[in-house]
Assembly symmetry: C2
Amino acid sequence: MVEYIIKTHENFTEKIGELVCMLEHSREVTLHEVSKLEQRELDFLPDDHSNSIGSLLLHMASIEFVHQVISFEKRDLTKDEYVKWGTALEMGDQARKVIRNHPVDYYLDELSKVRESTLTSLKSKNDSWLFEESKWGNGVAYNNYYLWFHVMEDEINHRGQIRTIKRLLRERRGS
Amino acid sequence: MVEYIIKTHENFTEKIGELVCMLEHSREVTLHEVSKLEQRELDFLPDDHSNSIGSLLLHMASIEFVHQVISFEKRDLTKDEYVKWGTALEMGDQARKVIRNHPVDYYLDELSKVRESTLTSLKSKNDSWLFEESKWGNGVAYNNYYLWFHVMEDEINHRGQIRTIKRLLRERRGS
């Protein structure tokens, strides 16, 4: 990032533009953390119960996709969408088995495709949309502003885990 | 949190209130992660180079304090402030040595005192203050909106690391 400025962008209404700026800043820092990693680093599992960096990246894309479906289409995942994203969403044993053997470009491409779709949809919304409320099945209220705040929160949270895994990788290399 | 809603609060101008809502939501999730931890869990070091949960919590408070000084007072830390916060800011060996042997209330109290001061100061600012720009020593521009976005980002990032440490604690207990 050339400058550390949060501000709106002409393609969006004011507050959506500021939120997009935060989402994009968060993503830029994430990409900076991972863009030079090799496949073996993306697949590395520090222990039997941790997630690989690759899984965490695909999880970020899956969380963003789910929040698109909820906020823009007001529905749950279809069966086909669940087949595609379920493993990355839920992580765990299955993710450790199947999310591997990809170069970093695979993950960057998935993140980028989902993000592009997010930005396209957000361009068609206005600030009052951010405050539209719905309820989860358990009766707890949420608004669209929260949903997209949470996409950012989830990514940053997992980026913290990625940093820990990178430190462990460096230590095991003895560098 | 009873509801997952981002909205402003009457004590703040509109956008500052929304940012405060995000900061407070992030904090609530952090507190939920740690508020029942015992001293030995807060002091636990998974390996020689990691930070304890206690250190990460004090680091969050220190980052917030530094951003108060930069954004509200437009200055660097004084020597005395650095003596108090330097170790938590920088982490590493010194933090591993000295930030320990405290119950969780010690950390919660430090977080709470700093947060209270943040909210008091933010109440006296207005939305245009968010967009006031300054430059770092290296010439890179930032605005106050970014600084407080970053306080949130840093906390969420370290919360991800806290979650990893909690998982390791559970596994070593064999539960």
